[in-house]
């Protein structure tokens, strides 16, 4: 960011009514970078973007929160103010608590799988960074695939009859048949977690790799000379220095899984037997299948509040590590 320009010293006070050679003004660096621009220029330049974002991201979300205190008595009837009734209904419904449980499993499972794989792959890539360029393209691969396409690919991969996963499992000794992945409540959740992690991992790897690349080699060299083994170096030097990126990845993965709907909807649609009915799915079901929009908004608001807490954590991490969050 720009540093504050040195304060003008001496007789730099602007004299507005003097003759032109007397009109000394302080250096304009403080106000405008380029001398001679109109004051309105930055406003005109930034207004369209700011208005569009405020109108299509900020306003709808606030409107949705406000509407969660209303309800339509019948479909098509005008909404009436009902206070917190939508919320009390939500908290007393079993489906909501069930979806909260599923979300907790989904988020924590994705975090564990995602961070373990992310760190593993980031460390591996760091060793060859800049040398094998095709690996970078491979790493980015899942990032360019839509959630629906990822779901189709994983439904093929995890198909109980011809899926490659089960072929590999059945090839192993002592195993007769692999699980019926998407038909079994437990394994369906596992499949959803892996699909979600697969789509999210590229950004995690890039984030961690970026962090690794900023670590000063002097620290590692020092540890090496002190005789620290590879594992100890990672454990006591690299991981602590990587803490900001790890925390940011954790927060980002939580955000992505907590609010993610695409993968679950396209892969299982919440099934089997609501085994993968996360809160995002529950919101979608309540609003767009049962057409109880205001009730759906209560669920959405609940998720938004959880997510706002996550964002707060994100900002605090940024402050703590002097990180430009």
């Amino acid at each position: 960011m720009t540093t504050t320009a040195p304060q003008p010293k001496g007789n730099f006070k602007p004299k507005r009514n003097g003759r032109w050679w007397q009109r000394k003004e302080p250096p304009r660096q403080e106000n405008n970078a380029i001398i001679g621009e109109r004051k309105s220029t930055p406003y005109l330049f930034s207004a369209p973007a700011i208005l569009l974002v405020a109108g299509l991201l900020g306003f709808p979300v606030l409107w949705g929160v406000w509407q969660s205190f209303y309800r339509r008595p019948r479909l098509g009837a005008p909404p009436e103010r009902v206070g917190i009734e939508n919320y009390s209904d939500m908290f007393s419904s079993d489906a909501f608590w069930d979806s909260l449980n599923k979300t907790a499993v989904f988020v924590s499972g994705s975090l564990i799988v995602g961070m373990v794989l992310g760190l593993f792959f980031a460390f591996a890539l760091f060793r060859v960074v800049g040398r094998l360029r095709f690996l970078r393209a491979v790493t980015i691969g899942p990032y360019i695939v839509s959630n629906v396409a990822a779901a189709v690919m994983f439904r093929i991969l995890f198909n109980a009859q011809f899926g490659t996963m089960n072929q590999v499992i059945e090839w192993l000794p002592f195993v007769d048949s692999g699980p019926r992945w998407l038909a079994d409540p437990f394994w369906a959740m596992v499949t959803v977690i892996f699909t979600q992690v697969w789509t999210d991992l590229p950004l995690v790897i890039l984030l961690l790799l970026g962090g690794l690349m900023t670590i000063d080699n002097a620290h590692l060299d020092a540890a090496l000379v002190d005789g620290a083994s590879g594992w100890n170096r990672a454990r006591h030097v690299t991981i602590p220095l990587l803490a900001p990126q790890i925390l940011i990845s954790v927060v980002w993965l939580s955000y992505s899984t907590l609010t993610g709907l695409g993968v679950v909807l396209a892969l299982t649609g919440g099934g089997p037997l609501k085994a993968t009915q996360t809160m995002a799915m529950e919101m979608y079901t309540v609003a767009f299948r049962n057409l109880e929009f205001n009730q759906g908004l209560a669920i959405a608001t609940f998720v938004l509040v959880l997510n706002a807490l996550l964002t707060l954590a994100y900002i605090r991490i940024g402050r703590r590590y002097d990180y430009d969050a």
Binding site: A33, A124, I144, V148, A222, T259
Partner: protein
């Protein structure tokens, strides 16, 4: 944790390190050399295994899908091998000949190009204002970068759907373009601000003295210098429009306005028994155009992403 060692110890360590390297270099002898070669081999194997795992993890879903797409509907079950015994392009010709693909492909291209153009048109001036001017509202930039995190699409789905109904904007491609642009603008502006700030002010001031107008400077100095960042933003915008699923699901009703992800989602439910080769071929055909487009500009995107995430 930043200062692990006091400075004098670092100095001592560099000496120690130098002597260590020297001692390693100075040791001759065949036995040791073979030992170190074996060690090096082991080392490279240890490095290679995680990298192979990474490739397997990322590529397997693509390969399996590609394999299925060349098989016959029955063959999928009878021939489990990865390389099809008698590969056919039937699934591809079927998909390419279907209305559902051509229509949704056209829609995706229109929405993608529209989003890209609109995002760049709005992001460049805004980022320039944030990077070069001090003005009231400049601190909005921070809010700008945080807003997308506070407004995930799960929170937007219902309100945007209701608002689109109220304003008669439902089921229109232009709605999708505007919504996706709004979703990508914060990231785009943020990436561009960093880039614009890196352009030395002196160049622009020199041009200013030489009589270049604001537009002249933007056109001949800022935009050419920031081209990599603009390409990055463009690709990210295109990707968003090309892949976005949850909002198009609620904003579009009629089959004629669906984008590729929506059409692919519908494809799974329409037929009673899933036609896997068709689904696989459709999936491949949604990914390949983007890969072609992406490999073309890959360098810029990754560089932009890393510089963005490293901040």
């Amino acid at each position: 944790m930043t200062d692990i060692l006091p400075p004098d110890e670092i100095a001592a360590d560099t000496i120690a390190e130098e002597s260590l390297q020297a001692s390693e270099r100075d040791v001759p002898g065949l036995g040791l050399a073979v030992g170190s070669r074996a060690k090096r081999l082991l080392r490279s194997i240890l490095i290679a295994i995680p990298l192979i795992a990474l490739v397997v993890w990322t590529v397997t879903p693509f390969l399996v899908t590609l394999s299925i797409s060349f098989k016959d509907k029955v063959e999928v079950f009878s021939d489990p091998s990865l390389i099809p015994a008698n590969p056919s392009l039937n699934a591809y010709t079927d998909v390419l000949a279907s209305d559902s693909f051509t229509t949704s492909f056209t829609n995706s291209v229109v929405v993608g190009v529209g989003t890209t153009v609109l995002t760049i048109l709005l992001a460049v001036p805004a980022a320039y204002a944030f990077a070069r001017f001090r003005f009231r509202g400049r601190h909005l930039l921070l809010l700008f970068t945080l807003l997308p995190r506070l407004t995930p699409s799960i929170g937007l789905m219902i309100p945007i759907y209701r608002i689109a109904i109220a304003t008669n904007m439902l089921d229109k491609r232009i709605t999708l373009i505007i919504v996706y642009t709004a979703m990508l603008l914060p990231l785009g502006v943020w990436l561009l601000v960093g880039f614009f700030q890196a352009i030395p002010r002196d160049i622009e001031e020199a041009a200013n003295v030489d009589g270049a107008s604001l537009w002249g400077r933007l056109r001949h100095i800022v935009v050419p210098l920031a081209a990599p960042a603009m390409i990055t933003v463009g690709v990210l915008a295109f990707r968003e429009a090309w892949n976005e699923f949850t909002l198009v699901l609620v904003l579009v009703n009629s089959p004629g306005n669906r984008t590729l992800p929506f059409e692919l989602y519908k494809l799974q439910g329409v037929e009673g028994i899933a036609d896997y080769p068709i689904e696989a071929a459709f999936t491949v055909l949604t990914i390949v155009p983007f890969i072609l487009f992406y490999t073309f500009v890959e360098k810029h995107v990754v560089a932009g992403l890393i510089s963005g995430s490293g901040k």
